[in-house]
Symmetry: D2
Subunit: 369 residues, 4 copies
Amino acid sequence: MTTNESNAGDAGRPLRLHCLCLLIEAPQRLRVAERDAGVPGPGEVLVQVGYGGICGSDLHYFHAGGFGTVRIKRPMILGHEVAGVVKAVAPDVTRVEPGDRVAVNPSRPCGACKYCFEGLPNQCLDMRFYGSAMRDPHVEGAFRNLLVCDAVQCEPVAAGVPLQHAALAEPFSVALHGVQRAGALLGKRVLVSGCGPIGTLAVAAARIHGAAEVTAVDLTDETLAVARAMGAQVTINVASDARWVGRYSADKGHFDVMFECSGNERALRAGLETMRPRGTVVQLGLGGDVSVPQNLIVAKELSLVGSFRFHAEFALAVRLINEGRIDMRPMITAAFPLSRAREAFELASDRKRAMKVLLDFEAAAAQPS
Amino acid sequence: MTTNESNAGDAGRPLRLHCLCLLIEAPQRLRVAERDAGVPGPGEVLVQVGYGGICGSDLHYFHAGGFGTVRIKRPMILGHEVAGVVKAVAPDVTRVEPGDRVAVNPSRPCGACKYCFEGLPNQCLDMRFYGSAMRDPHVEGAFRNLLVCDAVQCEPVAAGVPLQHAALAEPFSVALHGVQRAGALLGKRVLVSGCGPIGTLAVAAARIHGAAEVTAVDLTDETLAVARAMGAQVTINVASDARWVGRYSADKGHFDVMFECSGNERALRAGLETMRPRGTVVQLGLGGDVSVPQNLIVAKELSLVGSFRFHAEFALAVRLINEGRIDMRPMITAAFPLSRAREAFELASDRKRAMKVLLDFEAAAAQPS
Amino acid sequence: MTTNESNAGDAGRPLRLHCLCLLIEAPQRLRVAERDAGVPGPGEVLVQVGYGGICGSDLHYFHAGGFGTVRIKRPMILGHEVAGVVKAVAPDVTRVEPGDRVAVNPSRPCGACKYCFEGLPNQCLDMRFYGSAMRDPHVEGAFRNLLVCDAVQCEPVAAGVPLQHAALAEPFSVALHGVQRAGALLGKRVLVSGCGPIGTLAVAAARIHGAAEVTAVDLTDETLAVARAMGAQVTINVASDARWVGRYSADKGHFDVMFECSGNERALRAGLETMRPRGTVVQLGLGGDVSVPQNLIVAKELSLVGSFRFHAEFALAVRLINEGRIDMRPMITAAFPLSRAREAFELASDRKRAMKVLLDFEAAAAQPS
Amino acid sequence: MTTNESNAGDAGRPLRLHCLCLLIEAPQRLRVAERDAGVPGPGEVLVQVGYGGICGSDLHYFHAGGFGTVRIKRPMILGHEVAGVVKAVAPDVTRVEPGDRVAVNPSRPCGACKYCFEGLPNQCLDMRFYGSAMRDPHVEGAFRNLLVCDAVQCEPVAAGVPLQHAALAEPFSVALHGVQRAGALLGKRVLVSGCGPIGTLAVAAARIHGAAEVTAVDLTDETLAVARAMGAQVTINVASDARWVGRYSADKGHFDVMFECSGNERALRAGLETMRPRGTVVQLGLGGDVSVPQNLIVAKELSLVGSFRFHAEFALAVRLINEGRIDMRPMITAAFPLSRAREAFELASDRKRAMKVLLDFEAAAAQPS
């Protein structure tokens, strides 16, 4: 099926498709709405979305209408972790073809600003990232059963890989970017602090990148169990084990690298105590203002390094999933049809019960107008 | 004069020398005391100290008895920025000979711990650093007219270089180490925040290391004037120019590298706003707990890197001074005889009036017992 | 003068300008020819070229018709080291204006290939570099009295800086890029091998980037004298001092970084002997196949790193020239009017007599048709 | 069994043990000889060697009496890849105890030279490496059934890990060091050239360090089969597939990192053609003088990086073997009793038939004198 074929009605007029999408209208106000799906223009494709993972930022919009200075000013389609099936492609597209199963990269740098040309597209000055209220008008998200996107956003998913797993390519990319920011990990002792989806995927990413040992800390036994399943050799519930820092701070510290995925001040501070001199803390979690012990950072010459989103890592994430080098099964808690989105968001908000909750868009069939 | 000669009294007994030293006994309590100067053992030399610079940590001991958890528990000789003339050497010493003018490295790593073998002696687990109450018994300092030290601590000072300048080799080493921690600076835009002696020397070090432009910020016009004399192309008094941050934060920021030498939270936070994505902030200033905007560090992927003391940079500092690649004259405010130490410390505490204040030990002549 | 004005004849037809240019037609066959100068299109400017430096590649075309597999297949305008005065700008140009004195960057990456987006425009897959026969049709060079180029190629030259000096921005960029490839040089011991224009400028660049000491080696006393004038502390004529390698190879070697600018096999091999373990050799000189001692590279874990052209360094080069941080006077041997180009090329080919020889285009006045 | 016990004869005299060892006396002249085993001094242990792997350098001594300028001047015990069981320990040893199964690190840096203090003990100026004729007197090797060594040379082998596998810790360390020299590999495309034991283990090491894809090339199908078993996704027999270079050299090349393990000039040159701009070639193979295309290294800005032996990687190698992160089974061709050493060496010399051939020392029982 090509675009021309699929969109040509009897009278030669392009066939318009409607889609169902999930809007956030205000804190706690989700709504499933019908929208025009659009038509693929040059370089574009139409994807029938299969699954979409609910991310921490989706939850922030849901609970609080945003985070920090980022707030929804008008209704916005949520979602940026999706995978689906290509239904149509513009005539000039060769990268994918109808029928291909793909993960969709939600990151669309402008390709024209100075950072794009410096090889830092994740720092693009004109980024359009799905489901983000950072700019106004907001950038609509991908929680919709039909999505028109650029072909270059699509990474083919291997036969046999469930679309549910492919939908996790995006958070896995975030974790892989964090690992890239840390530099070589071969033989290193790694601490992961905060075992939500990003932290748990950082455990796996660190192992794939050669970490000698990965220790994961969190406040919740359930998330630590997932971290263990994803490759952590040691897990510590710091709520019940108050003395863990002391065990790792002899001789100025134990860990070479820390991935701080909680955004929590106490977690960061505890981790700093356990870092070896010249160690690197990659900060992935977002937590507003945090108080850090400047003298400790100076005296041990630690590096605190920010990691933001991803770029080349998206293709790598899909590749690693395709090749079976990461097993996403322990990550997935449940999938809900779009009609039960509220239930899905509430479950996703409960760290004791949920790791990654998905929305299932396949039930919501596309309807020609 | 060799050790044997100098220490041989009429009866062949070693000649004991007394020295005068500056003790901190309690906050605000400085005292000049007489002590046995000691005799150079194997590998050691006797230095007649000429000048000693008063450092921020000396001032912390003077005003508050210490800083953070580091507190004087008993009287301690202050000082770690000294230069003088070799008066005697042990028979096995070849590195220097009597008459040599030298800067004395106050850093004495153990040479046996794991960090010493990893090439990180500044992280030594058993460091003995002059004039420091970090360990107990405290390590006595070098504010004394006669000092027995290891020959390897001595870096020869070139003819024509004033000892006053050589005494600044230590704080210059700290600045050079900070510059090393930043990596290559060629063509980079550098911000120095806090123009005390370390910040001001960081200005010079960044220029020597190829920075394209160095902008210095401080709250005091007088220190900014010295920063300009040391190579800053732009200086900003952030007390009177409240809008400077806005001028440097367009397109996500202007500076590639920041040397934070104030330890001040607001200075750090303002600087972070002006940093380009992937920029590096080298933290040299010590300021206790500071609140940092975690989301900014993450979103711009900044690196906050601690820098502590120095190692190989001491020899480099002396070399650069010897070769005239840095002009220390603008740095030096005044020199006071040991007997006027209190006056010297008070002047050194006044940022409006003082950059680097020295003690002059030459007046305090050594007296054989 | 704007483009519109300058190009509007009486009848409203654009005014065509002729220019004089220097062609290489075959080995040893230089010819001054008249060509249509062209008219600045959008984003473009017209530069009246003042001076152009003769580069090693120009000499290769002159003597041998090229180098390696790169050979002229048809007449080509030579030259890529030029500076001049802006005479006209397209209406959309704001970067420069008529009357500005500028150095012209001869490097024009495509801005669309993968390397351009990775921040490696000097590796562009579709590079158009002035005066190069690497592609066919060849890219015409800048040895012409009138040159239409992109405004972004123009870097303004400060008042008081001679255009002759600005014309050296290009080879200085090559040297600066080499220094960037070496990483931080602060406190490093640097060896520069081969003191032609690139090597001599590498001496200066290494000093600007903080090298502790720069030793230059060459076979010719005259070039070594220039290297000394440009900042080399030690110079060695390896033709007359056969034992220099032995003096620098004790304890596995002396130098941290080497800039190999000769392309000569013996020079490279001698230098490798004098490198410390983990040292870095930046290869700038082009020399075809060379035999290297693999076992030495392995055993001392040396890094041999290629450096090719430049990108951001061009603006940096002009900045450093503008700020007086490099003095180009020792570099310049002579300037010849275009009519004496052959004489200029012959002098430039004599290492004993020439460092950088320039062509003077100012005498060759532009003539309206 | 403690040293005191084991060495106390009836009359309290230390019990002398004899051991059997494998001497190289001249090219092609191997001899099993009896020697005094020695007694563990302070910090030392006695190891009953189980297996010893035959290395390329052992083969060079066997076939040619050495390599390059390194030649045996007198009989020397060969071997440096051994694992065994601790039989006795000096009273001060706590690291291991009798009965422990250990891999023995053959690298003994002096711990006192400048490189040891810079964290580069593999560059030690006074290295004593088992079974090496680099210095004279030669350093005796570890092909002996009883070996007195330092306790710190011993890395405990986990229960269930065959000693034959542990004996491969040493070549695996060499491969891991090469991988460390390459920097982060996450997502990188890796080429391994030369699939002897080092190359084949480099395949595994690169995969463990996160390489996205590993392509192995060699002249022999049999070694390529082992490379595939160790993790290479693509293998190419370059003897039969002459056009492989062309397939990987479009758009300036395909591979980010190459591990050159053959020491062969043609292999290196072919690999250079397939490297992407800014790619890194880690040179592990030793091959004497090789001719390299300087212009290609310059134009693509490649890095050619030497890698020599290992240090911290030995403990890492044992850890990875212990944890089952590498499966050594495909590496091991056969084990021969010491009495059939010549047969073992001949098999080990046949690349078509052998990957790693071991000597079995367990049969050669120690005999008290």
